[in-house]
Structure formats: structure tokens, C-alpha cells
């Protein structure tokens, strides 16, 4: 087989890659250099004007990005802590182990948008059951229209929805760990806390980092929960980057500008996730 034949076999894969990955990104970059909007729907060329506007005259985007960082880091941290705890709980032989393993996975199997509608109904400030119950104590928090509580509600729904995913990855990790380090710790006289600190956690570090990064990537795209639950409100209190890009692109039809936002957002996410991954490796894989 000569050299050219190899490319012939690679061609279908390359074409698919080009079609689904490179072309959309390339088109987004090109679109970001145009002023395409509902008034002037054409692929003109305006240079870096959209980017200049983004960096000099769009405080709202950066505020949304700050909010996204807060929401995604908080939710993923909580998902990790809760997911790890649940995984540790059903890792060892316990009564109804299989039942609990399935139970903890149920939220992940539900449709996010539908579950968010249910959560919105729960937390509805005048009609929802949560405030109905709390009214007995003369408390009726503004779950969706207070700046702070709206963020809390978004975090709560996200944690409920996606902790099972973290649980699943971490449980799979725990089940794949070798048993000798645990036996050695037991022989050395280590109790459960020392065994966790010196054996379980270090052994789980690579899996934990992978799980955290996967969830951070997903959490940074948070859109449906915000859209259904608060629509970014009250005001812009829960507006995240992706929701803001959605508003600019699909509500205000500023396609050129929203493409610039998307591309900038992509670059920032790649850089920040790389930095986060490096920090996590440094923090969690101390021995190496």
C-alpha cells in the first residue's frame, strides 16, 4: 500500500471532522468579523470591531462571565463533595446497596428542562409548595426574585441534576481501585480518616480531576436551567455567559457580535480550564 492510499482511508473521517468541528468554528470566526444582524444579514467584513466593542464597551458580558465562574465553581465543588460522599457510602457492602446506587442516579436520567420546570413550580413564590410549607413559620423567601436566593436556587437545581453524574464517575473510580493499598493501610493500623486521606483520596485524584473538569466544561455551558428557572433574572442576577450570548444572538439577532462573544468565550474557557486542571493536579496529586 502506498502513501496516498492512507489518506484515502482517512478521508471519510477527516471530512466528518471538517464538517462537524472545523467548519462551524471557522464559520463562527468569520461571522465574528462581520456585522451580520437582523437589519443587515450579510457576511461583510468589519475587522475586529466586534472584539473592540466586547473588550471596551460590554460590561454586561464580563459580569455574566463572573457570575458563570461563581455558579459553575460552586456547583461543581458541591457536586464533587456530595457525589464523593454518596459514592463512598455505596462503595462498600451496605444494606440495599443496589437500590441506593440506582436511586442516586435517577436525577441524571430525568430531562433537565422538565425537571427545572418542576423545580420552578416548587419554588414559585406564591403558588409553590415550598413557600406554602414555610408560611407556617411566617417565612416566604423570594426564591426566584431575590438576587441572592435566585443564585442559590440555580445552584440547588444544578447540584440536584448533575451530582449523580459525578457520583457515577467517582463510584466507577472507587470500584476500580486496587485493594492492596487499603489492606496495607489496615495492616499499618490506619483508621477510616487516615485511610481516606492517605489512600483513597490520593488514589482517586486522577479520576477526581477528570470528573471535575468534565463537569466544569458542562457547568460552564449552563443555559437551560437559567432559561427556565429565572430567565437570567431578577435583572441580570443569574445571567450567565451562554445565556447572554443566547440573548444577543437569538433575541437581538446580533449574529456577528454574538459570534465574537462565543469565540472569545471559547478561548477564555480553554485557557481557564487548562489553568484549573494544572492547579488541580498540583493540589490533588501531591506525590507526583
Amino acid at each position: 500500500m502506498n502513501f496516498k492510499h492512507k489518506y484515502l482511508f482517512l478521508l471519510p473521517g477527516l471530512l466528518v471532522l471538517l464538517g462537524i468541528l472545523i467548519f462551524p468554528i471557522g464559520f463562527t470566526v468569520r461571522l465574528s468579523l462581520s456585522s451580520w444582524d437582523s437589519f443587515y444579514p450579510a457576511l461583510d467584513f468589519i475587522g475586529l470591531d466586534n472584539y473592540v466593542r466586547l473588550f471596551t464597551d460590554d460590561k454586561r458580558f464580563w459580569e455574566a462571565f463572573g457570575r458563570l465562574s461563581l455558579l459553575s465553581l460552586t456547583t461543581v465543588f458541591l457536586q464533587y463533595v456530595i457525589g464523593f460522599s454518596l459514592a463512598l457510602m455505596v462503595w462498600k457492602e451496605i444494606v440495599f446497596q443496589r437500590f441506593f446506587r440506582v436511586l442516586f442516579l435517577i436525577p441524571m436520567m430525568t430531562t433537565p428542562v422538565i425537571m427545572t420546570v418542576i423545580w420552578r413550580t416548587f419554588f414559585h413564590e406564591s403558588l409553590g409548595p415550598v413557600n406554602d410549607l414555610l408560611s407556617y413559620f411566617d417565612v416566604t423567601p423570594l426564591w426566584l426574585s431575590s438576587e441572592l436566593l435566585a443564585k442559590f436556587t440555580v445552584i440547588l437545581v444544578e447540584v440536584w441534576q448533575w451530582t449523580p453524574f459525578m457520583f457515577l464517575l467517582l463510584l466507577a473510580g472507587l470500584l476500580s481501585l486496587p485493594k492492596e493499598p487499603f489492606l496495607a493501610a489496615s495492616i499499618d493500623g490506619a483508621g477510616p480518616i487516615r485511610t481516606f486521606v492517605y489512600v483513597t483520596f490520593p488514589l482517586m485524584a486522577p479520576i477526581s480531576i477528570g470528573a471535575i473538569i468534565i463537569r466544569l466544561i458542562e457547568a460552564s455551558k449552563i443555559m437551560d436551567t437559567v432559561y427556565v428557572l429565572t430567565s437570567g433574572g431578577p435583572g441580570t442576577a443569574t445571567e450567565t455567559s451562554s445565556f447572554y450570548i443566547f440573548i444577543k444572538g437569538l433575541r437581538e439577532f446580533q449574529f456577528g457580535y454574538s459570534a465574537a462573544l462565543s469565540f472569545t468565550y471559547l478561548i477564555i474557557m480553554i485557557i481557564s480550564l487548562t489553568i484549573i486542571a494544572k492547579i488541580l493536579v498540583k493540589l490533588m496529586v501531591r506525590g507526583n
Binding site: 492492596e180 489496615s186 495492616i187 493500623g189 483508621g191 492517605y198 506525590g287 507526583n288
Partner: protein
């Protein structure tokens, strides 16, 4: 250190089944305090199960385990005060070498001064002094394995150090050094060392006593020379020695004689009480001599091939459709056609139903 007794110990992984299969058949065994033992056998023979029963990882389905006459059968691993070195080095990667060695003492709330002194002592014995401040995860596989061993030795009250094929991941040249270190440690601390391996060379060079196992049973316990000279079963004869012992189907001929292929072989074994007419004659390839003329206890075999193995030559011959292997010195000339082989009587072992008579 402790005397370890296994009383009618047996283990089945399905003890409730009507026709339960034993991974370890019932047996009795005593490990003398300060002894150096090797458990040797092919994969799946039950040697790791036996080790795990002693360490508490596996609860035996039958029998009792005594440490210094105290029943520890139901005690957990940590309550038994044993140390175990696994096939692959187990270290605490987030700790330094010093912290690793100190860990069993820290867990048992020893005073700091005692911990420091003990760690220094063990590090000295294992030649790890220069590495104490280094991160344990940065060490080589053999150094990590030494740390695993060191964690067992820092405790004075440890009943025994159990090792499950600990040198598997070690380079051949380092294996020799580590085995020597293990022997020195055994002599220095008088710790009972129990070493599981499937490598007969490791067992023979390390242990004072070897326990040979096959299919869940102990087939022979003895010193390396006993196992080599007088294997109790044909299995031990095959398993110990390289090449394996030569075995020949033979017939009973007299009170000390057997014959095969028309040749009569005199042995030092009293065969007068033997009921079986068909026996097996076993002799090590090291003890068969090539002689110039046929005489008493000789056979005339056809040489098949001669292999130079560096330290010696291995001659493969055939007699009466049975293979014979002979080890000779490198400089010895070997005829390439027929050859007379002498079987010295004192090295001939006779087996009835695979058991040494």
C-alpha cells in the same frame, strides 16, 4: 515475633455448597518463631490463600489460627499485628520515605522520639538513610518495595512479615541484593519471614524451610536440600530443580532393584514391602554420570541434542522411549550418538503411586 500455628485450617470459597471445593485442603502447620519460610507452588495452588488466612484478609472456613497459642482466627488484619508486603509495592505516595516508615507507629500513637529512633534504625538496615526526606512516589520499584518491608519492620511487636511474591517487579540483579538483605534482616531482627513465590530459585536461595503446595494441599515441607535430594512426590521432583527430575516407568525386580528397557538399576530403597509392580524411578540430571563403558546401574541411551547453557551443558537423550536429561560440565566431551549413563544408587528415588518409598 510469634510462633504461628495453623490447626486443621481449610478454606472453601463456597463453604455452604454440598460438594464444596477446597481452595485449601485441611492441614496443620507450625511456623517457628524467627524462621525463614517460603511457600512454593504453581499459580492457583492456594499459597496466597494460605498467606491471606494468616494476615486476616481471608477468614478460613474451617480450623483455627494461633499466634503464640492465642486464637486470632476471628481477629481483623490490624488486630493481628502482622506486616505484609504485596506483589506490587504499596507506598503512601503523598508522604516522604520517612513518613511512610513512621506511619504504622504514628497510627499506633507512639511517642515522637521512639518513632524517630525506630525509623532511623530501619532505614539503616534497609539502606534507605539517604532517601528519608525524598517523596516516596519518586523512588524506583525496588526502593518502594523496601519501604513496604520497612513499614513492617518498624514495629517490634509484629508477629510475622508475610511477603506475597514481593520481588516480581524487581530487576533480576536487584532481586539477588534484596534477597540477601531480607536474610540479613531476618538474622538481625529474628523476625518470622514467610515468603510466597512460584519461583523455585527464589525459594531455594531465600528460605530455611520450603513448603511446596499443589492443588490446595501441602505436598512437602523441608529444607532446600531435602526437597532437591529426596522429593516426596513426583510433583515435587518435577517442580523443584532445573531441569526437572528424570522419571522412568519401571518394574519391581528385587528388594532393592527396579528394571526398565532391559536395564537393571540397584537403589538404596528397600522395596521388599512394595505391593505395586509398576513403579517410577527418579534421578536428578545432576547425578547421572556419562561413563565410557557399560557396567552396573548403567543404561545405553541415544543422544538427541547437547545444549550449551553457559554454566553447564544439558544433554538430552532417549532410552526405552523415555527422555533422559543429564547436566555435565561445559568442558566435558559428549559423544553425539550413543552414550552410557550411570545412575548412582544413593541418588535413585523410587516412587509408588507418585509417592516416595
Amino acid at each position: 515475633m510469634a510462633k504461628i500455628e495453623l490447626q486443621n485450617i481449610a478454606h472453601s470459597y463456597n463453604p455452604q455448597a454440598a460438594d464444596k471445593a477446597y481452595a485449601l485442603n485441611p492441614f496443620n502447620m507450625t511456623w517457628v518463631d524467627g524462621g525463614r519460610y517460603a511457600i512454593l507452588g504453581p499459580s492457583g495452588c492456594g499459597k496466597t490463600t494460605m498467606l491471606n488466612i494468616m494476615s486476616g484478609i481471608v477468614q478460613p472456613s474451617e480450623g483455627k489460627l494461633l499466634f503464640n497459642d492465642v486464637d486470632v482466627t476471628k481477629l481483623s488484619t490490624s488486630e493481628r499485628n502482622i506486616a505484609q508486603v504485596f506483589q506490587f509495592p504499596v507506598i503512601y505516595g503523598t508522604m516522604s520515605v520517612e513518613q511512610n516508615l513512621a506511619f504504622p507507629l504514628v497510627c499506633r500513637n507512639f511517642e515522637k522520639a521512639v518513632i524517630v529512633a525506630k525509623v532511623q534504625e530501619v532505614a539503616g538496615a534497609l539502606s534507605l538513610e539517604g532517601l528519608l526526606k525524598k517523596s516516596a512516589s519518586k523512588l524506583t520499584a525496588d526502593q518502594k518495595q523496601l519501604i513496604s518491608l520497612g513499614r513492617g519492620l518498624v514495629r517490634d511487636d509484629v508477629a510475622a512479615v508475610l511477603m506475597d511474591e514481593p520481588l516480581t517487579v524487581i530487576d533480576p540483579d536487584l532481586k539477588f541484593r534484596l534477597r540477601r538483605q531480607l536474610k540479613e534482616i531476618n538474622q538481625k531482627y529474628r523476625s518470622t519471614l514467610i515468603y510466597v513465590t512460584h519461583d523455585q530459585n527464589e525459594a531455594m536461595t531465600f528460605a530455611e524451610n520450603i513448603i511446596v503446595m499443589d492443588a490446595g494441599s501441602i505436598v512437602q515441607v523441608g529444607s532446600p536440600s531435602e526437597l532437591f535430594e529426596r522429593p516426596k512426590t513426583t510433583f515435587v521432583g518435577y517442580f523443584i530443580g532445573a531441569p526437572a527430575m528424570n522419571f522412568f516407568e519401571c518394574k519391581l525386580e528385587g528388594s532393592h532393584n527396579v528394571s526398565f528397557g532391559g536395564a537393571s538399576i540397584i537403589t538404596e530403597t528397600d522395596l521388599s514391602k512394595t505391593g505395586e509392580a509398576t513403579l517410577k524411578l527418579g534421578i536428578r540430571s545432576e547425578y547421572i554420570r556419562i561413563v565410557e563403558t557399560a557396567g552396573i546401574n548403567t543404561i545405553k541411551a541415544q543422544v538427541q541434542r547437547v545444549e550449551d547453557l553457559g554454566t553447564h551443558k544439558l544433554v538430552s537423550a532417549i532410552f526405552d522411549n523415555q527422555n533422559v536429561k543429564i547436566k555435565v560440565k561445559r568442558d566435558q566431551e559428549v559423544p553425539l550418538d550413543s552414550v552410557s549413563l550411570e545412575f548412582p544408587a544413593r541418588h535413585c528415588c523410587v516412587y509408588e503411586k507418585e509417592q516416595l518409598i
